[in-house]
C-alpha cells in the first residue's frame, strides 16, 4: 500500500492503495466517482475512458503509480463546449440503450471534437473504434457526433 494524491476534476484526493491498482478502481472504489465504468479491464472496450491532461486514456490499464501529477478528468468533471454539444446531441438522438458504455463514448467523442471540430465518418471510425457498445448504438453515435459538430460551428 502507498499513499497517492490524485488530482481529479480539479480536486485533490488522497488514496491509499497498492501502487499497481488501476486508476479506474481508485476512481471508483476509493474516490467514489462511479460514472467511469468497468467493461473489460484489458484496454479493449473503452468504458473506462478518462482524460489524463486532456488526452483520452484507458483507466483500467493505467496504474495509479503512473499518474503522477497529471490531471484526471472523468465524466463527472467533463466541461467545455464540445462536451456540452456532445451530451446535447446524445440526448437529441436518444443514443443510449443500456447506457453502460456511454460515459466512455461521450468522453471519446468530446475529445475528438476538441481535436477535430469537423470530423468525417472516417475520423469518427478512427477516434471511436476503441469504444465498444454491445447494444450497437453506433449508427446514432455517428449521427450525434455530426450533429454536435454542426452546433459547434455556430
Amino acid at each position: 500500500m502507498a499513499a497517492f494524491t490524485l488530482k481529479i476534476n480539479g480536486r485533490e484526493h488522497q488514496v491509499d492503495v497498492d501502487p499497481g491498482t488501476p486508476l479506474l478502481w481508485a476512481i471508483r472504489d476509493n474516490v467514489g466517482l462511479t460514472g467511469t465504468k468497468y467493461g473489460c479491464g484489458v484496454a479493449q472496450c473503452g468504458a473506462c475512458t478518462v482524460y489524463l491532461d486532456g488526452q483520452t486514456v484507458r483507466s483500467c490499464s493505467l496504474p495509479v503509480s503512473a499518474v503522477g501529477k497529471s490531471e484526471v478528468t472523468t465524466i463527472e468533471g467533463l466541461t467545455g463546449k464540445e462536451a456540452v454539444a456532445v451530451q446535447k446531441a446524445w440526448v437529441a438522438h436518444d443514443v443510449p440503450q443500456c447506457g453502460y458504455c456511454q460515459s466512455g463514448q461521450v468522453m471519446s467523442a468530446a475529445a475528438l471534437l476538441g481535436l477535430n471540430p469537423k470530423p468525417t465518418d472516417q475520423d469518427i471510425d478512427l477516434a471511436m473504434n476503441g469504444n465498444i457498445c454491445r447494444c450497437a448504438t453506433y449508427v446514432r453515435i455517428r449521427a450525434a457526433i455530426h450533429s454536435a459538430a454542426k452546433t459547434l460551428e455556430g
Binding site: 500500500m1 492503495v17 497498492d18 499497481g20 491498482t21 488501476p22 478502481w25 471508483r28 472504489d29 476509493n30 467514489g32 462511479t34 460514472g35 467511469t36 465504468k37 468497468y38 467493461g39 473489460c40 479491464g41 484489458v42 479493449q44 472496450c45 468504458a47 472523468t74 465524466i75 463527472e76 467533463l78 451530451q87 446524445w90 440526448v91 436518444d94 443514443v95 443510449p96 440503450q97 443500456c98 447506457g99 453502460y100 458504455c101 456511454q102 460515459s103 461521450v106 469518427i124 471510425d125 478512427l126 471511436m128 473504434n129 469504444n131 465498444i132 457498445c133 454491445r134 447494444c135 450497437a136 448504438t137 453506433y138 449508427v139 446514432r140 453515435i141 455517428r142
Partner: protein, 728 residues
Amino acid sequence: MNLHVKSEAAATLSRRSLLKAGAGFVLATYVARNGIAYAQDAAAAKSVNIAPNTFLVIGQDDTVTVLCKHIEFGQGPFTGMATLVAEELDADWAQMRADHAPSNPVLYKNLAFGVQGTGGSSAIANSYEQMRKVGAAARAMLVAAAADEWKVPAEEITVEKGIIRHTSSGKQSGFGALAAKAMQQPVPANPPLKDPSAFRLIGKDGAVTRLDSVAKSNGSAEYTLDIKDPGTLTVLVARSPRFGGKVASFDAAAAKAVPGVIDVREVPNGVAVYAEGFWPAKTARDLLKISWDDSKAEMRGTAQLLEEFRARAKKQGALVKQEGDVDAEIAKGGRLIETEFVFPYLAHAPMEPINAFLHWKGDTASARYGSQFPTPDHAVIAQVLGLDIAKVDLKTILAGGSFGRRAQQSTHVALELAQVAKAIGPGRPVKLVWTREDDMRGGYYRPFSLHRMRGVVRDGKIVAWSDTIVGQSIMKGSAFEAMTMKNGLDSTAYEGSNEIPYQVPNFRCDLHQVDVGVPVLWWRSVGHTHTGYAVEAFVDQLLEAAGQDPVEGRLAMMADKPRHAGVLKAVAKLADWKGAKVEAGRARGVAVVESFNTFVAQVVELSMGAEGPVVHKVWCAVDCGVAVNPDIIRAQMEGGIGFALGHILYAQQPLDEGRPVAGNFDSYRSLRINEMPEVEVVIVPSTEKPSGVGEPGVPPLGPAVANAMAKLGLPRPTQLPIRPGDSA
C-alpha cells in the same frame, strides 16, 4: 424467449409473498400523498393494507412517475410504459418520469408469464392495455376530484397536456394539486380507452424522447456496480474452470495477506474473496491456490461435440412436425440439395458483467441489482437466508445490457449472491462482482447447435424440405421444464424451424435433444438465432437452384403469410430491390424471420474485403403491430443488426476439454463502430396488437449476409462465425 409459467407457480409464489392481495389483476391506481413516492415508502410497500395495485406516483410538483414492472437495460420499457400511461392520462411528456417497480409477483407480474419478469420481447405486448388503463383510471380520478373541488359537472372538464380545465368557470389545475383528493375517488373498474385516431403520443414520431437518455449521457445513471452503501464488501468468487467441477481443496494464505482483503470463504460455487474494493479482491483471487475435483465436470471440447452432433444428425431425430412424405419425394429423384449448418456457443457479454448487491441485516435483507426475473430471485434469496419473503426486499435497478443473460431461470446469480452473504454472515453489505472473464467463461451460452438440411427442387419448385436439428435444451432441468416442453422436447431448440413461412408440400422437422454439461440460456432471439439462419440461408440456396429471384421466389410461397410478405415487400421497396445482382463488387442478400410475433425482413449489401465480408448497408422492414414508440423500434432494429453482425462475423465460445477458451473482448471480438453498416428502417403500419422489438431485429441479418455472399460466388457460410480465427 418462450416463457410461460403456469398460474399455479405464480399462485404459490404469491401466497408466500408480502402482499396477500388476492388472486388476479385488480386495476387500481395509487396516487402518493404529499408527493411521497410509493417506491421509497417502505412501510407502505410492506403493508398488507395499501391499495392493491400501484403503477404511478403523482408528485405535488406535477411529476408523474410510472413504476415500470420491466427492467430497463436498453430496450426502452421506461419510455414505453410512460408513453402508454401518459397517452390516456393526457399528461405532458415533460412531466413524465419512470422508475423500476419493486419485486412483487402479484402487483407487477408479467401478464404473459404470471410472475414478475422481463423477456420474450413481451414488455409492450403484455402492458399495452394494462398501462393504458392505469393512465385512464388516474385521469378519471383526477377529473372526479376536480369536479368535487370546483363543484362543476365532471363531463365539462377537459384534460390536456397535464392541465385539468373547466372552461366556462375558468378554473384549471395541474395534477399535483389534485392528487391527494384524486386518491380518495373510487377506482373506475373499466375506464374507457381512447380510440387510436385520438392518440397524441402512441405511434407519433418525435412526440416522446427516452426518459433515460440524460442520466445515461452524463455518467449519473446508477448500475449495480456503482452501489457504494457504507461498509460494502466487494466479493469475487473463484469458480471451476470446467462446468460441474467442485473445489477439492484450497489454500488462501497468500490471498488473505493482501491488504484490503477481509475474508476468504468456501461457497457452494467455489471460493469467495471478500475485500474492500475490486482490486484487492481481484488480486487476492488470483493468489488463491485451488485444486478442482473434475469427476462430475463436463470434459468434452467443442471439436468432440461437433463430431458427436454430426453423427447424430445422420439419423432422424424425434419428430417435431411432418407434412407429406419427404423420403418418398427424395426417392423420386429431382435435385437433392444437402447442407449442414453449425452454430457455436455464444456468450451474451452484456457491457456490464453480472453483479448483484445484498445487505443481510440478520432478520431482514435488501437486495438491489438488475434482476430480470425478480419473483424467483426474491424467493431464492429469502430461502437461502432462511427468512420469510416478507422480510426481504428486492429492487431492480438499471443494468448494462442483458441480451437474455440476466433472465436466469436457474436463479444462479441470486443464489450465489445469497450464498456469499450467508458464508460471511449478516452485517456488512456484499456486492458480488463478476469480471469480464467470469462472464465470458461462466456459461449460460446460446446452445451449440447443428442443422442438417435436405431439400428437393423439381421443375423450378421446392417440393421437399427436411431439417434435422441437434441441440441442447435450455429448459430441461429448469424450474420451467414441465411448463415449456412438449413431449419432452424443448421448443426453443426448434422454434422457427418447425413452422416455416413457405408452402412446401413435403416437410419434416426433427430434433435430437442432447445432454451436455454446459449451462445454456436464451440469447437475444433464442432459437431463432440459429433456426432463422438455417431456414433463410437454405431457402435461398434452394431458390437459387430453382432459378428464382430471392424476393419473388419467397413471395410465391407465402400466399397464406400476409405479414411475412408485407415486410418482405416493404424491404424490397425500401432497398429498391432489382435482384441480388453484383454491382461494383457489391451484392445483396435478403432474409425474413418472424420471432415473438414480430415480422422483420432485411436486405444486406456487402462486398468482400481482404479479410471477409464488409457490410455497407442494411435495409430493414418491421411489422410489430401498433408501433408505440417508433424511434425506439428503429433503435432496436439498428442495435439488433449490429449485435447480430458482430456475432456472425467473429463470435464463438470454444471449449477446450470442457474449458471455455474466450475470456475477454480480445478473444471474443465485438463489432466496433468502423464495422457498423448504415441502417435504414421502415415500420410497416399495422393495427394488430403490439408485439416486441428487443429481439426480432437479430435473426434475419446473418442469413441475409450469407445470401449476399452467395451472390458473389462464395459459399454460404456453413459454420459460424464467418471469421473464426479473428481476434480483436
